[in-house]
């Protein structure tokens, strides 16, 4: 378990973090979300024993990072924003070195190198010099070094930083395979990355945690409404004109749980609507539209729910 009690960090007069208090249960995957410079990396560096907190107590697996950093470092695998790679070494030599400095004996090291190479899908790059690897593979080697000693806690700071869309998906899949085997802490300002990989989300703003919980919990606590998207194909006797579109709009607005609704894009014989309800009222919406003689082609909770939560909490200027 990871526990922070009033942890803070100042750089001179500048408060980079805190005071922050939180508890992260064993085996969970937690995402730290926030704009650049809000203290995500500072917090992770404190847990990785790379940065000393200026106040409070940080415990990793029950061990205080200030009292016994040596023990904490054995429990933690850390991938900083820029992977700490020796470009002159081959992948195997680098992982061997990473394992040896973490105290692995030669038998364990051979086994673990094979395992982490397989987990991170770099077995075929084993003999290649790191300098010659693509950015995506370098990132994977960075994850592999963090895993080599089977740490209880895996800290990944912006693991998809600089990756292309395919590499981002591969990294996301990799993180999913690591879940449950480790307690994973991920920092990112990319919302989908956090949304799709984490059980719990911690949103930081100006060095403080402004919200925490699952995406569902945050949605209920932060957003005053649930967004939905509805695509309707009108009945054959109604045509595709404005009249039919407005008829469905009136129908939707008449539902008591719907706060507001508006017509979105029109594509062929299908019209999209955007709705906000006091709760998830997809069942009621679907029933009403079908009973009115139209076809429901698509009905989703609005995508990018986390983006709405994030913008609500950190302000509309969010670039995330």
């Amino acid at each position: 378990m990871v526990q922070l009690i009033d942890v803070g960090r100042h750089f001179g007069d500048h408060r980079a973090l805190g005071p922050v208090s939180l508890e992260i249960p064993e085996g969970s995957t937690v995402g730290f979300l926030g704009l650049n410079g809000v203290g995500k990396t500072t917090l992770l560096r404190i847990l990785a024993c790379d940065l000393r907190p200026t106040r409070g107590q940080a415990l990793v697996g029950g061990v205080d990072v200030l009292e016994d950093p040596h023990t904490v470092r054995k429990k933690v695998g850390y991938l900083p924003e820029t992977p700490p790679l020796y470009h002159d070494m081959t992948v195997r030599d680098y992982l061997s070195f990473a394992g040896r400095i973490r105290g692995l004996d030669s038998g364990t090291l051979t086994r673990r190198i094979a395992e982490v190479e397989e987990t991170t899908n770099i077995t075929h790059k084993d003999g290649e010099t790191i300098r010659h690897l693509s950015h995506g593979y370098k990132q994977r080697v960075g994850v592999a070094q963090a895993l080599i000693h089977e740490p209880e806690i895996l800290i990944l700071d912006e693991p998809t930083n600089g990756l292309d869309p395919v590499q981002i998906r591969e990294m996301r899949d990799l993180i999913r395979t690591l879940r449950r085997k480790h307690t994973i802490l991920i920092s990112s300002h990319i919302l989908t990355e956090i949304s799709e990989t984490c059980d719990e989300i911690l949103i930081l703003n100006a060095g403080e945690i402004v919200a925490s919980g699952s995406e569902h919990d945050l949605s209920g606590a932060v957003l005053r409404s649930t967004g939905m998207t509805l695509d309707v194909r009108f009945g054959p006797d109604r045509g595709n004109g404005e009249g039919a579109a407005n008829e469905v709009l009136t129908l939707l607005r008449a539902l008591p749980e719907v706060i507001d609704a508006e017509v979105g894009e029109r594509e062929g014989d299908t019209v999209s609507y955007r709705l906000n309800g006091t709760e998830d009222v997809r069942a009621q919406v679907c029933r009403a539209v079908v009973e009115a003689g139209h076809d429901v082609v698509r009905l989703d909770k609005a995508a990018r729910e986390l983006e709405r939560i994030f913008i609500e909490l950190v302000g509309g200027g969010a670039d995330a």
């Binding site: 000393r52 470092r73 900083p80 820029t82 700490p84 020796y86 400095i101």
Partner: protein, 243 residues
């Protein structure tokens, strides 16, 4: 000690894989060779006894060893700070002394390798002149001790500085100051002159090795300088590791 060994092997491997290691080696060997030719074989060499030639060789070699030690040591920690690879070490369970000693011994073995590659020159004197093997061995022993002390100064500088240029400047200033103590000792009055002479990294402490004389005092001096600067480097690492 397994941590020291891991870091040592990584550092030695880094020198052997990089062009800078070979470049330093090549430059030192070239300059050593040229200086040896000039003083022993060239037209301006004149008639000299072989003991003098050997002492001159060790004198020249010591200057080049000091420069090589400084250049080799600069990258050890400051470069890692600049590239961010130091995080791998500082977030690992390695102790600070393991990091410092591992890096130090990696550089020392490489420097010793370069130094020993000059052996053909004293052997030429041995074959063609009248010097003993013990004289040569003592000279090399002194050269390695002298290189070890200069390397320790460089390791302290690289642990202290955030950038390689600052590390180079810091190391150069300390080394130059310790060199200059010897000529200074002859222009100041006692007791400062005695203090300067006994602290100078060259001069009194190296002249014995140059002549093939092994004094415990000189061995102890170089070991003490090495120990002092390595200890200082470890303390600096401890202070900087947690920022």
């Amino acid at each position: 000690m397994s941590g020291v060994r891991a870091v040592f092997e990584r550092e030695l491997g880094a020198y052997l894989r990089s062009s800078i290691g070979y470049l330093i080696g090549a430059v030192v060997l070239l300059l050593d060779g040229l200086l040896f030719y000039a003083q022993a074989l060239g037209p301006a060499a004149g008639e000299r006894i072989s003991g003098e030639v050997l002492a001159g060789f060790f004198l020249n070699a010591s200057g080049l060893t000091a420069i090589a030690a400084l250049v080799l040591s600069i990258r050890l920690i400051a470069e890692e700070r600049q590239t961010g690879t130091h995080i791998l070490l500082t977030t690992s369970p390695l102790r600070d002394w393991e990091i410092v000693l591992g890096k130090y011994f990696g550089a020392l073995v490489f420097l010793t390798g370069i130094t020993l590659l000059t052996l053909y020159m004293p052997l030429l004197i041995f074959v063609n002149g009248k010097v003993s093997l013990a004289q040569i061995l003592v000279g090399y022993f002194g050269l390695i001790l002298f290189g070890a002390a200069n390397l320790a100064i460089g390791v302290f500088a690289t642990a202290f500085a955030r950038h390689q240029l600052v590390a180079a400047a810091t190391g150069a200033v300390i080394t130059a100051t310790m060199f200059l103590l010897w000529p200074l000792s002859s222009v100041v009055d006692p007791p400062a002159s005695r203090l300067f002479a006994s602290l100078a990294i060259h001069g009194r402490h190296f002249s014995g090795f140059q002549a093939g004389l092994l004094h415990t005092r000189d061995v102890f001096y170089y070991l003490a300088v090495t120990y002092f600067f390595l200890l200082a480097a470890i303390k600096v690492m401890e202070a900087k590791r947690w920022e």
